[in-house]
């Protein structure tokens, strides 16, 4: 485990930071905005406008 962390500390640190960012995003209520957009057909995305 020690060697793994030593060789991959940058990746592990970024992974921890990513989890922190996701938690912050959840606390800010961002998933609801993503969900709201994703459950309706995005007219712009499919080229209808």
């Amino acid at each position: 485990m020690g060697i793994f962390l030593k060789q991959n500390w940058k990746g592990v640190a970024l992974l921890c930071l990513s989890i922190l960012l996701i938690i912050i995003g959840v606390l800010r209520g961002e998933p609801a905005t993503v969900l709201q957009k994703a459950i309706h057909i995005c007219m712009e995305c499919i080229g209808i406008g």
Binding site: S18, I22, R28, I39, I41, C42, C45, G47
Partner: protein
């Protein structure tokens, strides 16, 4: 052996597409899945308006946050992007992206003269960063209407993946949408056809020159948990890796280039077995 591994990769790509686009009813009825899993991002460029999609495209999700009235930055989507990047880097492009699979398959179509790169490759390879900054980050956040809402510029004007996996299936099966087809749809289908034609001639032109998601994951290649190393004691600098690399990378010099999509062709071709991934090393160690 290398060919067998290439086929294995395509099966893996197809299986991952089926897993993340498993709402088959959507393809038959011209409707999209509306469950809660859509609040989660999938790693690849997989439009959330694809009838089968069970998750959200990170680029689409990022734009939906940026062009909303409530938020100006997205910790949530950047978290997903950073997480996928830190774990896999551009392994996502090579193994998990549905539009990557489409380009891989198109490149298998025989053509009189295949070219490794398109003309202007030296400069064109930076165009994906322009697309990322301009169409994904800046325009959706800056150009807003009187209500404070912006537009998903990349999805609306560029993304051929959205046209292929969402636009065409929905328009084909949903009569209400057929009546609304206009100039924008023709523009997007034209871009898709152009991308498809270029993919027959050259390997993955969209990934090389346009994809903003690949641009982001590319930055993580040198630090991701899944990355490549070249053993200097084994490497004879024969350049076999560069010759086989369809992304045109000097793998023996830059094993973690931001252009590398981790297809594994170089690893499978190296006559000295000098190239290995962190996963190979871990499995090898466990075998010992």
């Amino acid at each position: 052996m290398a060919k067998k591994r290439g086929i294995l990769r395509h099966w893996f790509q197809a299986a991952f597409f089926a897993l993340t686009n498993g709402y088959v009813v959507g393809f038959l009825t011209g409707k999209i899945y509306q469950g809660n899993t859509k609040a989660l991002c999938v790693p690849g460029l997989n439009c959330y308006s694809c009838p089968g999609a069970l998750g959200s495209c990170p680029i689409g999700a990022l734009q939906s946050i940026l062009d909303s009235r409530t938020f100006t930055v997205s910790a949530y989507v950047f978290g997903f992007l950073m997480g996928f990047g830190a774990l896999f880097g551009r392994f996502v492009c090579g193994w998990l992206c549905p539009f990557g699979l489409v380009q891989d398959l198109l490149y298998k179509i025989p053509f009189v003269k295949k070219v490794k790169n398109l003309p202007g490759h030296k400069y064109l390879r930076y165009f994906r960063y322009v697309v990322l900054v301009l169409f994904v980050l800046l325009l959706p956040a800056v150009i807003v209407d009187i209500t404070g809402m912006g537009k998903p510029w990349f999805c609306e004007y560029i993304c051929p993946s959205g046209t292929l996996f969402a636009g065409i299936p929905l328009v084909a099966t949903n009569p209400d949408l057929q009546g609304a087809v206009g100039g924008l749809f023709i523009w997007k289908v034209s871009l898709l056809v152009l991308t498809g034609l270029l993919s027959v001639i050259s390997y993955r032109p969209f990934c090389k020159y346009v994809c903003p998601l690949g641009a982001i994951y590319g930055w993580f290649n040198p630090v991701a948990l899944y990355r490549y190393t070249v053993d200097p004691d084994k490497c004879t600098e024969c350049s076999a890796c560069k010759k086989v690399c369809k992304m045109d990378i000097d793998v023996w010099k830059h094993p973690n280039s931001p252009d590398c999509i981790r297809c594994g062709d170089c690893k499978n071709t190296c006559p000295e077995n000098a190239i290995s991934s962190t996963l190979d090393k871990m499995l090898h160690k466990n075998k010992k």
